[in-house]
Each structure stands twice: as C-alpha cells, then as structure tokens.
Symmetry: C2
C-alpha cells in the first residue's frame, strides 16, 4: 500500500529504529515521552491502516506475536513494575502498538502514562534505566519473527 502523504508514520520511522520486518517495524520513542518513559517501544504496521481489525486475522496475529516478543524482552531486560500495551491512534491513525515499561516511581504511576504528572521525574532512576536500554534494544533487534 502506498504511503499517505500527510501521515508521519508513512513518512518516517517515527523514532529510533530497532528492527524492521516487511510488515512492521519496531521503534523506541524519542522526545519528551521518551524522557519520561525511556523504555517506550512501538510496533508500527508498515501499511497505512487505522484499526487493528482492518488487518486480516493472520496479520493481526503476526502483529500481536511481535508485540508479545517485545513485551517479553522488556520484562526480561528491564523488570518493570508493569507493562502497558495500547493501540490508540486518535492523533495518528496509522496502526501502531505502544509497549511501555512502567515503574512504581515513574511520573504518573499508577495512572496511565497519558494522565497528568503526579510526581517529578526521578533523574537518577531514569538514567539507570536508560543505561539498561542498550541491552534491551539489542535483545529486541535480535528477535526472529
């Protein structure tokens, strides 16, 4: 499917590219979201479709198996308090799944990451987490799909 001209996920990877397959790619989020939540990955479908159920069941399943593999590596490498998964796409209606490691010390926990800040960022813990990302990125990059 051709890219859609005004779609940022058709134009660009949308973050730090960790792995690319024909049907999807895995990126790690940059910008302020990546500052507040360093271990914030996205599995982005290659074609421009809005809804998960726009995919045929085999593709839907392949995408979720990729999400599961990313979640598994995030848990193994980073021991989060909780993993948060979501496919929203209200702003960018190009199918992508968020896979986010949450910690009981992060700036919104236990609220959703999109809720207002409830405590200041813990810079020391965030720095320590960022150091662990190298190994997590490598583990995700080494996955076979």
């Amino acid at each position: 499917m051709a890219g859609v001209a005004d779609c940022p996920l058709c134009r660009e990877d949308g973050g730090l590219l960790i792995a690319r397959q024909a049907k999807f790619r895995i990126i790690r989020v940059q910008g302020q979201d990546g500052v507040d939540f360093p271990a914030f990955y996205r599995v982005v479908w290659s074609d421009h479709v809005a809804e998960w159920t726009d995919l045929v069941p085999a593709d839907r399943s392949a995408l979720m198996q990729a999400v599961a593999k990313v979640e598994t590596e995030v848990r193994r490498c980073l021991q989060p308090t909780k993993v948060n998964l979501a496919s929203l796409g209200n702003v960018v209606p190009h199918l992508h799944w968020h896979v986010v490691a949450r910690y009981d010390w992060d700036s919104r926990y236990p609220a959703p990451l999109w809720a207002p800040v409830t405590r200041a960022n813990d810079d020391a813990r965030l720095a320590a987490l960022r150091e662990q990302l190298v190994a997590c990125d490598a583990a995700i990059a080494a996955l076979s799909f």
Copy 2:
C-alpha cells in the same frame, strides 16, 4: 486459579456483564468512565494474572481473538471515529483489555481517554450513543468464541 482476596476483578464482574466464557468475561464499564465513554467494554481474563505474556501463547491468542470480536461489533454497531485498545493494569493488576469507542466529539478526543478533559460532554450525542448500546451489547452477547 483461586481468586485473590483484595482484587476487585477476582471478587466481582467489574461492570455490566455482557458475556461469560470459562476463560474470560466481557463487561461494559459503569460509573464515571461509563458516563464519559458509554461504549467502553472490557475483556477480563478469569484467572488472576498480571501480564498478557503471563498467558501461554494459545490463551494469549484466544484472548486477543475475543478482543478482535468485540472491536468488530463496536465498529459495526456504533461507527466510532476510532477504537482504542489497551491493557494497562497498573491499578488493578488482573489482566483485562479495554475496548473503547472514541468519537471526535467526546470529552478528550483526540487525546487518550485518560488525559484531562478538553471539552464538555455532549449530552445529546451521549444519550443517542447510549441508545445504540442495547444493540451492541446484544451483538457481543451473541458472539461465539
């Protein structure tokens, strides 16, 4: 698996029960979230597990197929602007998937439903949506899994 005493999703259905299977149930959310987002369903795993990847792959797939069926009926019956899917569980770490119909007129759109309110509820549109829920509930209740 035995229920966990202090877990609200072990103790109660957690909303209006729409369908019950051995491994999961489907409820429609009540309370303020159900006022702001009337078409807010949850697929709740029966056993008390925290993470989606705590399930064996066959159960993980069965759960997502149920989520896909709920999403399909929500789209067919309610024509939302966008469907939002999420598994967070920071507050109640008992595996459940949110399936929420979002509309470009709702109180947070296009922000995530957990973001601060950006416009007042449109009571007329919410009332019209609530009327459509009867058919959507019935369609979900009639699904075979």
